[in-house]
Structures are given as structure tokens and as C-alpha cells.
């Protein structure tokens, strides 16, 4: 392997590059330039020049890239029962770094077909039926997708018994990929192979469709959606390598203008005795995206979810001023806070986005009285023992008070049954390297882990040894 690696993150507004010396396991340079949507290679070239690499490194570097430009990876997920294979399919697509435009259950209707045409996804993930289970539904849905006027890549990850038959429903103009079932049995989730298949399609097809291939002469490998790279980085940080211990269970939060992403790394088994698990098991590396919780483009739906009164109380604004401010922000997503009051208002928005997004991500307890006494039921992951909460993304990294926002993740006295981290320490991805390290993890996990641990420890926001 080469000694120098350049890691590229082509975002929707900025192209960020990070130079890494693998022998010293450290970041040597970082640079960024505005993303150039017509031909991303121009912005990439400018960012690379900004690195000012010595000529020795210039010649023998390896360049790896991830991208969330051109709307990211847009997918629809299709399954049979909403709480079973549809949910598993959605989780597989999210874990692959996709924006899930819509999740469908049962047989696709004529209206669903029209809606999918309208949504125009980059990839469809088609699941349904456990292995040896229901086959009618996935065959029906394959026929509906096959009749779409514009061919779309389809990843088939449903009932294994009919996978070949499902693939055979599609004309040659469609690319189909068969992966193992996202839910081979009731109660068993298997999303990794489908995630990998989605990443393959992204590399083979989507980067061409999105004009990213123009940058490929500058890049040596690994094109993955940026959120997938972040999730990969989190997984490495949590699990460690054979020679270097990881950080254990983590939560990674990314507040954006349009969405709030939450990644959790951890099994999420009950932390108390006598709790009965309900529902579909969840993956060790779980990602959720809240499309209605953002601090700019989605600020109106955020306010709706939080409540005008709560936001006014916490920000010190009157309800009228809150309304005026959020209408301004939604129309002008580039607006930065100027006055101290506006800074506090933005921080309150970020805090609330994190509070709600983490609340939806974590599992919850419910109580059930039985003739044998009180029984606790757990739906989803128990993340109460997670000790590390990490913030990433522009809103948090550029904030004067990221800790204030990140504390939205912790245990909430008003919602005691939400299984949130109880006593976490907070860290900031201050060098903005998580996506880059997720890329590097594929090639050199030891270096990626060492660099991440160093960088995050530099940006510990509370009790570093906690």
C-alpha cells in the first residue's frame, strides 16, 4: 500500500479533502473547495491543489472518495408486512447511506407505481417474505417495478426461494442484483449483504448517472455514499481492530439544514434484568434519518414537532418572533446567526432536533401488567449505557457551543421510558474526518482508528476520561 492517502468527501456544497500519512498515522493536510455540480472534478481539483502536497506525495498517493452530492443516494424500500420485511428493507437502505424517499408494504398498487415514477429513485430495494415464506407478494411487486417506463436498478433481497424468479420478471434494460434476504426468518435481521449490494450498485451505476464519473480520473477507489462512510467509521471506532481496542458503544449525531442523522453502534440489549424484547431486532450499526428535523430547510416541520411554546420558552424569543425567524431561515438556508440572541436561537433549534431525533432512534420501554406481575417490554435498542456521544456535520462543528446541542441526546426526565444514553461523555468531530476515516477503514483500519481516537479526544467536550 502507498504511504499517503487522500480522502475525498464530495458534499452537496463543499468538496472536502484530507491528506493522511499512513506510516505516521496522522493527518498531514486538509482543504476544501465549493462543489461544482456540472463537473465535480473541477471542485475536486481545486480542493486537491489546496492540500499543497509535496511533490513526493503528489506522485505516490492513493485517492479514495465518498459523495453525497446530487441529492445523495435516493432509494425506495419495498417489503411485505410494514413491521417486518418493509422495516428491514428500510433499515438496509439507510445503513447503505441512502435517503429513503418512501417505504412500501404489501402489494404495490397502480397509485404506488405512479408515485415511484414521480419519486424517480436511484435504486429500488425489493424485499418481502422470509426464506421459504410468502412469494406471491414479491413477485407481484417485481412485475409492477418491471413495468416502470424508466429502468431503475433493483436490489432483490427477499424470499430466497423465488429470488431468481423475481429477477426474471425484469426486462434486460433493468439491472438487477440479488442479495441474501434482509429478513431470512421472523425475528432475524440480515441487512449487511443488501447494504453491500447497494454500495456495489452505487459504484457501478449511480456515480455515472450523477456525473461523478468525471471525477474518477482523479480518484483511485471506493465510491460510497457519505453517510455509509460515517457509519463505517463509527463501527470501526466502536469495535476496534485486532490490535487496538475500540471505544465500545457510541452514538453519532449529525444535525443538518434538512435532516438530522443518528447512528448508533451497539447491540442495544436490555440493560436491566426481566425485560422482554419485542419487535424486529435492530442492527448493531443502525442509522436513522429524520427528514422533518433540520435547522434550515426543514425548520418549519421541526418547530411543528417541538411546539412553538417550547421553542419560545427555551430560546427566550416570543412566539411571534420564533415564527418570524423560522420563516426567514427556511427561505434563506445560508443565513448565519449575527446577534447573540440569534446564536442562542440556532443552538436551541439544534438541541431540539437532536432531542427528537435521538428519541426516535433509541428503543423504548413500556409496562405490561400480567397475572404474573409487572413485565417490562423493550422495543428497539437500549442505549442507556452508551458512554460516548459524538457530534459531526457543519452545524455542530461550526457552532460556538456544540455541547449545548449534543446534550439533547441524553436521558430526558420528561420521557423516562426512552432508552437514551444516561451519562455520556461528548465529543466533536472537530477535524471533520469521520467520513474520511470510514473510507480509510476499508483500506487501513488501524490507521483510521488511531487517527479518529486522537482527533476526537482533542475535541472532548466534557470529562475526557469519563
Amino acid at each position: 500500500m502507498k504511504d499517503f492517502v487522500v480522502l475525498v468527501d464530495i458534499g452537496s456544497t463543499f468538496t472536502k479533502v484530507t491528506g493522511v500519512d499512513l506510516r505516521q498515522r496522522r493527518i498531514t493536510a486538509q482543504s476544501s473547495a465549493p462543489t461544482t455540480p456540472q463537473d465535480v472534478s473541477l471542485g475536486l481539483q481545486e480542493a486537491l491543489e489546496g492540500l499543497k502536497l509535496p511533490s513526493g506525495q503528489q506522485d505516490q498517493k492513493q485517492v479514495l472518495a465518498c459523495s453525497s452530492a446530487a441529492g445523495g443516494l435516493r432509494m425506495v424500500a419495498i417489503g411485505l408486512v410494514a413491521d417486518l420485511t418493509s422495516k428491514a428493507a428500510k433499515q438496509a437502505a439507510l445503513g447503505a447511506g441512502a435517503r429513503v424517499l418512501k417505504t412500501y408494504s404489501f402489494q404495490l398498487t397502480e397509485a404506488d407505481r405512479a408515485e415511484i415514477m414521480e419519486l424517480d429513485p436511484d435504486i429500488c430495494l425489493l424485499a418481502g417474505g422470509t426464506d421459504g415464506g410468502n412469494s406471491e407478494n414479491i413477485l407481484h411487486n417485481a412485475k409492477v417495478l418491471a413495468s416502470l417506463p424508466r429502468p431503475v436498478p433493483v436490489v432483490i433481497a427477499g424470499n430466497r426461494s423465488v429470488a431468481a424468479e423475481v429477477a426474471a420478471q425484469f426486462p434486460e434494460t433493468f439491472s438487477t442484483y440479488v442479495a441474501p434476504n434482509v429478513m431470512p426468518q421472523i425475528g432475524k435481521l440480515q441487512v449487511e449483504p443488501a447494504r453491500e449490494a447497494i454500495r456495489q450498485v452505487f459504484m457501478e451505476k449511480i456515480i455515472y448517472a450523477k456525473g461523478l464519473s468525471k471525477a474518477s480520473r482523479l480518484i483511485d477507489g471506493i465510491f460510497m455514499p457519505t453517510p455509509a462512510a460515517v457509519l463505517r467509521a463509527g463501527q470501526l471506532l466502536s469495535e476496534g481492530t485486532a490490535t487496538d481496542q475500540g471505544w465500545g458503544d457510541c452514538l453519532i449525531v449529525d444535525v443538518g439544514g434538512a435532516t438530522t442523522d443518528v447512528h448508533s453502534l451497539g447491540a442495544g440489549n436490555p440493560s436491566e434484568a426481566g425485560v422482554v424484547m419485542r419487535g424486529l431486532p435492530e442492527p448493531f450499526a443502525k442509522r436513522t434519518v429524520e427528514g422533518d428535523l433540520g435547522v434550515r430547510v426543514s425548520v418549519l416541520s421541526l418547530v411543528e414537532a417541538v411546539g412553538l411554546g417550547v421553542l419560545a420558552r427555551d430560546s427566550g424569543y416570543s412566539e411571534e418572533d420564533v415564527e418570524e425567524r423560522v420563516h426567514l431561515l427556511t427561505g434563506h438556508p445560508e443565513l448565519l446567526p449575527q446577534t447573540p440572541e440569534e446564536v442562542v436561537f440556532d443552538q436551541t433549534l439544534g438541541y431540539e432536533a437532536i432531542r427528537l431525533a435521538v428519541g426516535r432512534h433509541v428503543g423504548r420501554l413500556s409496562e405490561l401488567y400480567t397475572p404474573a406481575g409487572l413485565v417490562w417490554l423493550q422495543d428497539g435498542k437500549d442505549l442507556t449505557k452508551v458512554r460516548k456521544v459524538i457530534g459531526t456535520g457543519g452545524v455542530l462543528i461550526n457552532s460556538q457551543n456544540p455541547l449545548f446541542m449534543l446534550e439533547g441526546a441524553k436521558k430526558d426526565a420528561e420521557h423516562p421510558l426512552e432508552l437514551r444514553p444516561e451519562t455520556p461523555a461528548y465529543f466533536l468531530d472537530g477535524d471533520y474526518i469521520l467520513a474520511a476515516m470510514g473510507l480509510l477503514a476499508q483500506e487501513n483500519p488501524e490507521a483510521a482508528l488511531a487517527i479518529m481516537k486522537n482527533s476526537l479526544s482533542e475535541y472532548a467536550l466534557t470529562g475526557r476520561d469519563n
Binding site: 425475528g187 397475572p371 413485565v375
Partner: protein, 136 residues
């Protein structure tokens, strides 16, 4: 021969786990594919598991006396889900107190079960009937 799939579980707020495990093992050894949902299973979970697995039969246990309330509407829910003609068995301590078994059996058959079994029924008493009902 293709294996038949059974969805098995203890319905309602009932936490009796031991018999459920014994049934799972017995049915599996008899050659069935067993989807065991365990204890505290809701009607919704029975229906959804049967849909996804294309199950051939649903085996409901209830051992705490409230079974009649818990199973009411299950057959109707299966009809709604498009699998209304699936074979359905129930067994256990289905009612409170010592009621006449014939009455209990009639009651549960009216609730949509094909076979109804009293307490202390052994798996080997059920398996031959189940195989015959499934045309095995």
C-alpha cells in the same frame, strides 16, 4: 417432501415460557418448520408472522385463563390479512375454573379454531392430527 410451517406462540399477557419451548422442540422433531414467537405474543404478531412466512398453521397457547379474551377476533384479523382459511389450533388452560370441556371446546371452535386441546395434552397427541389436517 416440503416442510410445513407452523407459527407458534403464547398469546396475550401470558409469560409461560417452558411449555412453549417444549412444543417448539416437539414440532421441529416431527419435521415441521417452526416459527416460534415466544411469550407475550399479540394477535398482530401472529398475523404478520403467518403472512411473511406463508405459514400452514397457527398454534396458539394460553395458560393463564384469559385466553378467550385474547383470541377473540384473531380469525377475523387473519381473514382481513388475506389468509383467513389458515389452520388454527389452540391449547392450554383456556378458561378459569372447572368448566365443562365440551362447552369450552365449542366456544373456541366458534372463535375460529379448528382444534381445541385441554390442559395436559401431550405433543404426541396433537402431531398425528396436525399432519392429517395438513394433508401430510
Amino acid at each position: 417432501m416440503e416442510s410445513k410451517t407452523l407459527v407458534l406462540g403464547v398469546i396475550g399477557s401470558d409469560v409461560h415460557a417452558v411449555g412453549n419451548k417444549i412444543l417448539e422442540i416437539a414440532f421441529r422433531e416431527a419435521g415441521f418448520t417452526v416459527v416460534n414467537l415466544g411469550v407475550l405474543v399479540s394477535q398482530k404478531e401472529f398475523v404478520e408472522a403467518a403472512v411473511e412466512t406463508n405459514a400452514d398453521a397457527i398454534m396458539v397457547s394460553s395458560l393463564y385463563g384469559h385466553g378467550e379474551i385474547d383470541v377473540r377476533g384473531l380469525r377475523e384479523a387473519l381473514i382481513e390479512a388475506g389468509i383467513g382459511d389458515i389452520l388454527m389450533y389452540v391449547g392450554g388452560y383456556l378458561v378459569v375454573g372447572s368448566q365443562d370441556w365440551a362447552d369450552v371446546e365449542t366456544k373456541f371452535k366458534q372463535l375460529g379454531f379448528d382444534r381445541v386441546y385441554p390442559p395436559s395434552t401431550l405433543p404426541e397427541d396433537v402431531i398425528p392430527t396436525l399432519k392429517s389436517d395438513l394433508g401430510m
